[in-house]
């Protein structure tokens, strides 16, 4: 909402600087977003009269003007094609500044001295809306008489300041100059004077000129109308055009401008119909019929339905109630008789209509927030008054007023102690009543209660909390003391799960991974990008009805594509190493179409590349994580095939037999889809399986008292035999006395037969109660070798 300061000052006395006004309004709840000073940057530009024009001796396209600027005459050279003797024009004097910081100096143009510059509208930063003709090619020609030498800002009305307000949806009354003036008067504690509305007696009888039928009274609680005859459609006076333009509304013609002016002034949207085009001279307020069509004022054809309210005549719709008028009854230069509408429409239906058709007008923005039923009549009279004052037509005597709504004000019984209790302050009943009365509430204090009559323009006030806010904002939020809660002591703590989650991140960060945060919606095509082409394997997804684009239209079921994108981006930017993880939910629909909320299953996804990064690096990181939660012994890594991954370098992680996730090298084709040429390692784990299995209890085991004995074991086995199999075998055969088994070398090549590999283990034996003898160890070690031979066909190397 834009409000020119001069306009505001018509209704409220303001004798403080505009910045202080803005601060007072902001701190009482009417937030000022900005202040624009019109004509800022213009100085030393005055009104001048072109007395004589001579050709330039040295240039065809230039002329030499003699300009009277009041106290002297100046010689100024210009190239503008539209100057004529006798015109009044803006003259930038020697030393003048124009918007954008341009400085004007006396100079010599092609040998002729020029003591200033004649200005175009654009050079003064003006558009046609600020001043008619400002956008013409050439000098701005002033259309009215002004004293010569007058500051151009004063002449053009550019000396005002415009306040921009952020009006919250509960305060439609403040979408008006009068409403803001009312707030300003309370904020500054200075007198408020709303416009004095008086309509002079009209001619004839309105009931003989037009009829209004409201067929859906619940959707139109009040419809007020007046008729004006013999209108003279033309431009409105400059002062009105300027005010509208300053408030951000384009001037159109006197009739439309008056309706807009009243809307800005009083907050009540109005509409004018060309009455001669209203069939049967009858206004019908009704629901639209399904499929009915209307061309609105913006020249777009709208297809309507029964959830929309229209203004119609006896044949056809002529406007969308509270949203926009129809082109078929638009005010034109030829309009003779008009019907002025000032009505109250149901908030819900206006909003539905405007949403469904995608039209957000100044009118609909106000109606959907709830307007004052009394203001409809006042605004209609105000418009009639302006028509009379501007001589724009002859107002017909009388008003049509179809009112089904209640004109009674809401009455509340509020305990003033409760208001104090909510705010934590201690105002007396009288102090509180005084604040409310300044806001035009009628208050009677009756013991513990206040009987409060709410003014009709405050539809938002419904109960004690609303009253508390009114009291608080005028009392001053910053005068309310600060305390910390008394009462029951609560324990601030994280849940066990939250603590585990923190530790997961801590461990991952410790292994060199950076945490990333990526979008949780994605493209349905990501499955193809990660190699999942079989429709059977593509998961069911949660789809967004109104996505920003196809690429962000489904909720993700895996984080892998998002992380590959991050790797890709970093690779493209020349990073030789990128190691990342993210924890976030997969959105898994329980059924489609969605009838219940989807499952949000938290995933932990790791992705990395770098000079020393391979499968075993990734697996090592996951082992560190498993170890942190006491799960290393329960973990089983099973070779696995999945279309996203390299078929020979991928494992399924099982914890106590439960599938927990996948880890492995990304399939080269998938990597290629992300413009990645290096080996990419990815793991995706179901975090809940991990957290639910976590073993939190730790018990001390005494440190060994007796020495360990180490023996190496180099085996040759078939290539297909997995090291996990060998290790399991060794452990089974070694029993209690075998303390540790570590693979320290893997070898294939010379001296090893084709199809075989050599695995070298370091075995460590120890007993807790004695020093083992060589004989014992030899026997055990030999039995392990023998067992491996029998079970896995292993040979000693």
């Amino acid at each position: 909402m834009l409000v020119p300061l001069k306009w505001l000052k018509e209704y409220v006395e303001i004798d403080v600087p505009v910045e202080q006004l803005a601060h007072s309004l902001t701190m009482t709840g009417t937030k000022v977003e900005g202040i624009t000073k019109q004509g800022e940057g213009i100085s030393n530009v005055v009104v001048g009269k072109i007395c004589e024009i001579h050709p330039h001796p040295n240039a065809d396209k230039l002329v030499v003007c003699h300009v009277d600027v009041g106290d002297r005459k100046l010689q100024i050279v210009t190239g503008a094609p539209n100057v004529k003797e006798g015109q009044l024009v803006p003259v930038a004097l020697d030393g003048a500044t124009l918007p954008g910081g341009h400085k004007i100096k006396a100079t010599t143009l092609r040998g002729v001295e020029s003591y200033g510059m004649l200005c175009s509208g654009q050079e003064l930063g003006l558009t046609d809306e600020d001043y008619p003709g400002a956008e013409v090619d050439g000098i701005l020609i002033l259309q009215e008489e002004y004293p010569l030498g007058m500051d151009i800002r004063e002449a053009l009305g550019l000396d005002d300041q415009v306040l921009e307000f952020e009006i919250t949806s509960n305060r439609p009354d403040c979408l008006s100059v009068v409403g803001i003036a009312r707030e300003a008067s309370v904020a500054l504690n200075s007198p408020f004077e709303p416009p004095h509305i008086e309509v002079k007696p009209g001619v004839g009888d309105v009931n003989a000129e037009a009829k209004v039928l409201v067929q859906d009274p619940d959707l139109c609680p009040r419809y007020c109308a007046r008729v004006v005859k013999d209108v003279k459609v033309g431009p409105s006076p400059l002062w009105m055009q300027r005010r509208l333009a300053s408030a951000g509304v384009r001037p159109i013609n006197n009739i439309v401008d008056i309706t807009n002016y009243v809307m800005l002034e009083m907050g009540q949207p109005m509409h004018a119909f060309d009455l001669d085009k209203v069939a049967g001279r009858t206004i019908v307020v009704r629901r639209a019929r399904d499929g009915e069509k209307l061309v609105t004022l913006d020249d777009k054809e709208r297809v309507l339905n029964g959830d929309m309210l229209v203004i119609a005549d006896i044949e056809k719709p002529i406007g969308l109630a509270g949203v926009m008028g129809g082109a078929n009854t638009e005010i034109t230069d030829g309009t003779k008789n008009i019907l002025l509408e000032s009505a109250l429409f149901d908030r819900g239906i206006v909003r539905k209509t405007s949403k469904a058709l995608g039209i957000r007008s100044e009118a609909s923005l106000r109606f959907e927030k709830g307007l004052d039923i009394h203001n409809a009549m006042a605004a209609l009279d105000r418009a009639a008054q302006l028509i009379q004052e501007l001589g724009a037509g002859t107002v017909v005597e009388g008003v049509i007023d179809v009112c089904h709504g209640s004109l009674e004000n809401r009455v509340l019984e509020i305990s003033w102690k409760r208001v104090n209790g909510l705010l934590g302050i201690n105002l007396s009943a009288d102090e509180m009543a005084d604040v409310l009365r300044r806001l035009e509430f009628k208050v009677e204090v009756k013991g513990e209660y206040m009987r409060i009559e709410v003014p009709s323009f405050r539809q938002d006030i419904e109960g004690v909390a609303d009253i508390a806010e009114e009291v608080a904002r005028i009392y001053g939020y910053n005068n309310i003391p600060m305390t910390l809660m008394e009462g029951t002591v609560t324990r601030g703590r994280k849940t066990g799960r939250q603590k585990l989650m923190d530790r997961v991140k801590e461990v991952l960060v410790g292994t060199g991974l950076y945490e990333v945060v990526t979008y949780s919606f994605t493209s349905p095509r990501v499955y193809e990008s990660i190699g999942i082409t079989d429709p059977q394997l593509i998961p069911k997804t949660v789809k967004i009805l109104n996505p920003l684009g196809e690429d962000q239209s489904i909720m993700r079921t895996t984080l892998i594509p998002s992380l590959l994108e991050v790797l890709s981006r970093n690779r493209n930017r020349g990073m030789e190493r990128c190691q990342i993880f993210e924890i976030g939910p997969a959105f898994l629909p329980k059924s489609l179409p969605l009838e219940d909320l989807p499952e949000e299953k938290p995933l932990l996804t790791i992705a990395e590349y770098g000079p020393d990064i391979d499968y075993y690096d990734l697996k090592g990181k996951i082992e560190v994580l498993l170890d942190e939660f006491g799960l290393l012994a329960e973990a089983e890594f099973v070779p696995h095939v999945h279309p996203t991954f390299h078929p020979g370098r991928t494992a399924l992680l099982k914890l106590n037999g439960r599938e927990t996730g996948l880890l492995g090298e990304v399939h080269p084709k998938v990597a290629q889809n992300y413009q990645l040429e290096e080996r990419i390692l990815v793991a995706e784990l179901e975090l809940d399986v991990l957290l639910n299995s976590a073993k939190e209890e730790r018990k001390y085991r005494p440190l060994p008292k007796y020495p360990a004995v180490e023996r190496d074991l180099a085996l040759v086995v078939k290539k297909e035999v997995l090291s996990a199999q060998v290790e399991r075998c060794i452990r089974e055969l070694g029993g209690q006395l075998l303390e540790k088994v570590e693979l320290f070398d893997v070898y294939e090549g010379a001296q090893i037969p084709e199809g075989y590999k050599s695995l070298a283990y370091s075995l460590s034996y120890r007993a807790s109660d004695r020093t083992l003898t060589d004989e014992e160890i030899n026997a055990l070690h030999d039995s392990i070798v023998k067992g491996l031979e029998e079970r896995l066909g292993a040979r000693l190397r």
Partner: protein, 339 residues
């Protein structure tokens, strides 16, 4: 024989003075005191001496041995000291050369800041609650006093999944979920991801993060709201931070407020960051609307409370001086490693 021994002592003294390293010292010991050493050789000849001289010579020989042992030890210490000094001189390295790199990752800046926020509120007795990102319209709007066709829905352009299911536009639905399952006193914060149908630019992202707060108990007042949030601001942005509360409107709180903190860049003098106002808006808050308490199954006659909500992304950007929200979601390692 005595003369022989004295001769050995003198000779040994001279030789020992010239021994310049530990190896030579060890050789010296063998040469004089070893099994075939000079002293031992001499003593072998003891058998030829008359019986009464033997103790004297033996004593002298032992004296010389003890003397030489002692001298050797002294010399050894000196030489060891010298050798160590030499080694230390030889082992000088350029300590300014770069260290061997150990890779440690980092948390995302959003979560670094979130952890700080959590710590502040945990310290004030809050718990951390969570709620779903795909949410019922009922929890996201209806139960927060934003019925269908309410204009406040405009300010939160919503992604819908079905007519009744949506991507939550704020963390506030968790307020209702917590009220439904927990009796007062309630003191929670709710961090989480939220969604609004905004086109991406330097200050907007369709996905961002909020931290919600809710306190409900008997006799909770607006003073408590101000007190708690002032403590938060001072903990978060430093003890010199000032707060200011302005009236505002949210459908789910009444009275409602916005809180500004004194500009974190200029301290309140006015600069580009605070648009020369000295203040930066960081959160919305208010007393929980009685209708919202009722929706949560809590009697507004008995209980009152306050709620607040802040943008985590915005606070993170403020804290680190990040000027473009998109950086948070790009995850450039050169960005992530700075925090």
């Amino acid at each position: 024989m005595k003369a022989e021994l004295e001769q050995i002592r003198r000779e040994a003294e001279q030789v020992l003075a010239c021994v310049s390293n530990l190896q030579d010292l060890s050789n010296f010991r063998v040469e004089y005191l070893g099994k075939k050493g000079k002293l031992t050789q001499v003593l072998r000849g003891m058998g030829t001496l008359p019986l009464e001289e033997r103790p004297k010579i033996g004593q002298l020989a032992n004296e010389i041995r003890a003397y030489l042992e002692e001298e050797i030890e002294k010399r050894k210490k000196v030489l060891e000291e010298e050798a160590l000094s030499q080694r230390l001189r030889d082992e000088v390295i350029d300590v300014t050369m770069p260290g061997r790199r150990h890779y440690r990752g980092k948390l995302h800046p959003l979560n670094i800041v979130l952890n700080e926020i959590k710590d502040i509120f945990l310290g004030m007795g809050f718990e951390i609650a969570e709620g779903p990102e795909v949410e019922w319209d009922y929890y996201n709007f209806e139960a927060l006093n934003i019925p269908k066709n309410h204009p406040a829905r405009d300010t939160q352009d919503t992604f819908y999944i079905t007519e009744n299911i949506l991507l939550r536009t704020h963390t506030s639905p968790t307020q209702i979920r917590v009220m439904e399952r927990q009796k007062p006193p309630i003191k929670i914060i709710v961090p989480g991801r939220v969604y609004r149908s905004d086109a991406v630019d330097a200050t907007h992202s369709p996905i961002f993060h909020q931290v919600e707060g809710l306190v409900i108990d008997k006799n909770i007042t607006m003073c408590d709201l101000k007190g708690v949030l002032d403590v938060f601001a001072k903990e978060m942005f430093g003890p010199q931070t000032k707060t200011q509360f302005r009236p505002h409107h949210f459908p789910f709180t009444e009275p409602s407020a916005e809180m500004d903190v004194s500009c974190t860049t200029c301290g309140g003098k006015g600069c580009r960051v605070c648009s020369y106002t000295g203040w930066i808006e960081i959160l919305g808050a208010g007393m929980v609307h009685p209708k919202v308490l009722q929706y949560g199954g809590i009697d507004p006659e008995q209980y009152s409370g306050f709620a607040f909500g802040m943008g985590l992304d915005r606070i993170t950007n403020l804290k680190y001086g990040i000027d473009d929200i998109r950086l948070l979601f790009e995850n450039d390692i050169r960005f992530l490693e700075q925090f």
